[in-house]
Structures are given as C-alpha cells and as structure tokens.
C-alpha cells in the first residue's frame, strides 16, 4: 500500500441504529483528506443511502451483516457497501429515480439518484439470493496537494 493510500473496513448488524454510526465513521475517516463541509455532507448522505438500502432491502426479514470499506487514494475516496442479503432482481429498475420496491414503507425512491448525484461513479453488482455490492467513487476537489 503506497504512502498515499489508506483503508478501513467496518462490519455491523443490519439495524437501523447503525445508519448514523456508518455515515459518521466514514466521514471521520475521510476527514484526513480535508474535504469541504459540502463534500463531507455529500459523502455522509451517499453512505446513508447505501447502508439504508442494505438494511431495508437486503435483509427485509431479519438481521444480517453489512460491511462498509473505505479506501483513500490521493484525492479519491472509494466506498463499498456490501450485504449478503436477498439481492436485487433488476438493478436497472432499482436505480430509476422515484422507483421503490417498498411503497408500503413510504420510501421516496431517491436513494440511488442521491448516491449518483453525490459521487462521480456508482457501480452496483447484485445477485438474487446472494447479496448486493454498491461501489461509489468520489474525487475531492478540495483535497490538499500531496508531495510524493
């Protein structure tokens, strides 16, 4: 791992109490790159969306594990949120703005749209019955220059 690279991994129960824990932990880790207040708010929101999806949609019928890994490389932040839950049948449909598979829960259907707006890149890999992996990449405009 180069001097410019840093990495962390969290694993926690798919309980809604842990949504704030996850976004605050990622924000605290990313803080070492000196992001702007706005960039930090975007990262917290994107993490909250991905983790909430894992909790609500990944494990609708019980508790499982959610893993969040965050890699810092130069001025780039990569966040991966994974669950081993029920997976998404149709990823393209799930990513569509205003779509929700759970209208009964009064969801806005804006989760993926927000992740996409607040990151430079969002990749979703999902297999029904096996789980979902959401990878978000964001380049910080504000990041302090490195001299290596």
């Amino acid at each position: 791992m180069s001097a410019r690279r840093n990495y962390m991994r969290l694993e926690f129960a798919s309980r809604s109490e842990n949504e704030s824990f996850a976004r605050v932990a990622v924000a605290a880790f990313v803080a070492q790159l000196d992001p702007t207040v706005e960039e930090l708010a975007e990262i917290k929101t994107a993490v909250s969306e991905a983790v909430t999806n894992a909790i609500i949609h990944g494990y609708p019928d019980g508790e499982g594990l959610v893993a969040v890994t965050c890699t810092l490389d130069g001025d780039t932040v990569e966040i991966v949120v994974e669950d081993r839950g029920c997976g998404i049948e149709d990823v393209e449909l799930a990513r569509r703005p205003m779509y929700t598979s759970r209208p009964d829960l009064e969801r806005s259907g804006m989760g993926f749209t927000i992740m996409e707006s607040f990151s430079d890149r969002v990749d979703v890999i999902s297999r029904p019955g096996e789980g979902t992996r959401v990878r978000m990449v964001k380049r910080l405009q504000s990041s302090a220059p490195t001299f290596d």
Binding site: T45, T52, I56, R107, I114
Partner: protein, 116 residues
C-alpha cells in the same frame, strides 16, 4: 436517538420542529408525532421548521412527501422553513422545492400559509 421532534399548533398551522438527524431510523418517530398532531389539530396546514436539522437523506424525503400527499388530498398546504445548506440541497435535488415553498423563518411561513 439523535433526533428530537415536536409538533405544535400555531394560529391553525401545525408546526413540526426537527432537531438533529432525519434518516430511516429516526423517520418513524417523526411520522408518528406529526400525524398525531395533524389529526388532533384537524388542520390541513403543515410547516416543517428544519432550521436545526443537520442531516437528512431520502428517508426524510419519504416522510415529507408522504405528508404532502395526504395534505394535498385534504386541499391543505405544506411549507418548509429555514433549511440548512445540506438539507436544502437535498430538497432541491429531489424536486421537492418545485412543489413545496420554502421560507426563511416560522413567522413568515405561517403568515404565508394562512393567506393562501
């Protein structure tokens, strides 16, 4: 829980004041509190005071839009006042700002809701 919610009646308008972070975990408490206040007041006018809301994600949008739907059916009006920068950005991004008016403070918002 890192969210405090109170809903009070001011001049026939239900004012929901939120402090802290509105996410999926805290959304149920807000829904319950605001729905109970609307029911008790029998008023279709709702103002969200978001001046002290430091964080909101799409679960919060779901709560706002859910109340908006209900209030619109009753021919009422809903408004927001004082959102912090990140919350305002989310309201903008989601299109909520094109259907719900935003005011600087409670007094202005209540006056506007009563006039409408």
């Amino acid at each position: 829980m890192n969210l405090a919610v109170e809903a009070v009646q001011v001049s026939g308008v239900v004012v929901a004041r939120l402090r802290g972070e509105l996410d999926h975990h805290t959304s149920e408490a807000v829904r319950e509190c605001v729905d109970a206040a609307l029911e008790e007041a029998g008023s279709p006018f709702l103002l969200w005071n978001l001046a002290e809301l430091s964080f909101m994600d799409s679960s919060g949008l779901g709560v706002l839009l859910g109340r908006y739907r209900r209030i619109s059916q009753q021919k009422g009006k809903m408004a927001v006042c004082g959102p912090t920068a990140p919350v305002r950005r989310l309201l903008e991004l989601s299109g909520v700002l094109s259907i719900v008016p935003v005011y600087d403070d409670e007094t202005t918002a209540i006056a506007a809701l009563r006039e409408a």
